[in-house]
Amino acid sequence: MYAAYVARRFGIMLLVIFLAVSINFALPRLMPGDPIQAQLSQLMASGSGGGDVSAMVQSYQERFGLDQPVWHQYIAYWQSIFSLDLGYSLINYPEKVNTAILNGLPWTLGLLGFATLVSFTLGTLLGGIIGWPRTPRFARNLGSGVMLLSSVPYFLIGMILLYVFAIVFKWFPAGGGLPFGLNAGLNLETVRGVIWHGTLPALSIILAETGAWAIGMRGMLVSVLGEDYITFAEAKGNQPRRILTRYGMRNALLPQLTKLALALGHIVSGAILVEVIFSYPGIGFRLYQAIQSKDYFVLQGILLLLSVSIAVAMFVLDLIYPLIDPRITSRGQ
């Protein structure tokens, strides 16, 4: 049973990756007036590509083999994917796309990882408190306010935070990942700089996400509290607090954990706009710059990374899930 389930999930993952790569390949070709070609010839004409662009042009022609039939180009594209060669940046030549991604990744993973874990913890606790009928009314109303906040796109909250705390009060920097001119290293100054610059972006994600976690937890808790074993636990004379934590929240936590795994899978794509607002040097900001400057190879490389990382994360989640909840494998059939 488990093997068949795993095989099915693995198949879906492969299918997703296949589709993502194919879409990445096909879309620019389906569009009128091949934007890559246009951009490249414009660069060559103006000579602004930064020195010798012949290596880039060569790699471009090798990669796409423009004189070759389409299926040949398609195979060549797959080959370059498998050899993890995503080509050069059109704008910051000779920077490779791989380097651009690797430079941005730690920032994004750090910011999003921290913000996701904090908002998960806060939101789950908050949801537990709101879903508990004995909680005082004013506390529940306060919690509802936080839940309302979660419906507002987080980058808009980021804009307000940026204005209030960086422009008006000047407590935090208005952008970037490190103080200007500071060389990153493993020392106290760097750590302090990273925290100082990361506070506002992290806060805007936490403010928006906490409510979403709280909503999920509240919903689960309410339905768990309706179960017979809760009544039984009450009849046994358990303390209400014990019923809430041991019987209620513990069982309601399971779907929350699934969602946490899912959120961690979306970590790379989660904060694109927050990074843009705060000029935070992660993947999202790089994507924004690539869109602005029509840097197609960087654009495609980052989008491919997003697709593959989510597909893999979903697969890992599918593997873990039956171990937590054995009913899944049989239900899936």
Partner: protein
């Protein structure tokens, strides 16, 4: 139909969350329809006023970096943004309901294919395809934007409707209708559809909400319709010209407020519908 209306009215009086959400959305909708009629369109053109001036008596919300009156821009941007949301929501809802009904009723290979397609589409990050399409389209328009966003948000509705159809088609009254010789289409439209209405309504609100979220995100990245005024594009231009750093809060603040109100209205409506559909949740909240 009259029965349905009185049912809806009864639910609205009982369900405060739904009432608040619907009222807020209705207010926004009225403003969006009436707004463009009351303002002077020429004020929304580049260079119509003195740029970068804070709010005063003539320009209630000040002017932006290119000399447009922010209040006028908002009045024209609101209906456009709502239009994208509604068109995208309607398209993805129709696709979702159709596919969900087909999958739920026919079963077998058709069901497997539809399920697989929606599983796969849910895994592929929408933002990746959206960015790819939007950055390759030569000229983005409001309508095209809606279609692109809709093509990536039909899966939730498909899943909801399919699951409900599966459970409904085994109910006693559907079985009896089938034994009485009702044909497939009649079964779907007379017996099953009316019972799906709350789910369809809930799916619609979710579809509109996720479509608007995707739209505003794309626009803020600069991939929206360049020649139309929308709320997301207003925020993009404000960000592009450094309005936050320059302290021009009147440029980006009002669109943020309007967007926040739209999303809060959608969320309240969705939560209200949810507790109507799921009485167990509703009983305790």
């Amino acid at each position: 139909m009259r029965n349905l209306l009185s049912l809806a009215a009864a639910e609205l009086t009982r369900n405060r969350m739904l009432l608040a959400g619907v009222a807020l959305l209705a207010l926004i909708l009225v403003l969006a329809i009436v707004g463009p009629l009351l303002v002077d369109a020429s004020q929304a053109k580049v260079g119509a006023t003195i740029p970068r001036s804070p709010p005063d008596g003539t320009h209630w919300l000040g002017t932006d970096g290119q000399g447009r009156d922010v209040f006028t821009v908002l009045a024209f941007a609101m209906p456009q943004t709502l239009k994208i949301g509604l068109i995208a929501g309607l398209i993805s809802l129709s696709v979702g309901v159709a596919l969900g009904l087909i999958a739920g009723f026919s079963g077998g290979i058709v069901d497997t294919v539809i399920r697989l397609a929606s599983d796969v589409m849910m895994t592929i990050p929408g933002i990746a395809i959206l960015v790819l399409v939007a950055s390759n389209v030569r000229e983005m328009t409001v309508e095209l934007m809606a279609v692109i966003v809709a093509s990536l948000s039909w899966m939730v509705a498909t899943r909801t409707i399919r699951a409900q159809t599966l459970s409904l088609r085994e109910r006693g009254y559907v079985q009896i209708a089938r034994l009485n010789g009702s044909s497939g289409l009649k079964l779907i439209f007379v017996e099953v559809m009316p019972n799906l209405l709350p789910f369809i309504a809930a799916s619609f609100v979710i579809a509109v909400s996720s479509a608007m979220l995707a739209t505003i995100g794309l626009e803020a990245l600069g991939l929206g319709p360049q020649n139309d005024l929308t709320l997301g594009m207003t925020i993009y231009w404000a960000q592009f010209y450094g309005a936050i750093i320059r302290g021009m809060w009147w440029w980006w603040g009002p669109p943020i407020l309007v967007i926040a109100l739209i999303f809060i209205g959608l969320m309240l409506t969705s939560a209200g519908l949810d507790s109507f559909v799921n009485k167990r949740l509703g009983a305790s909240s």
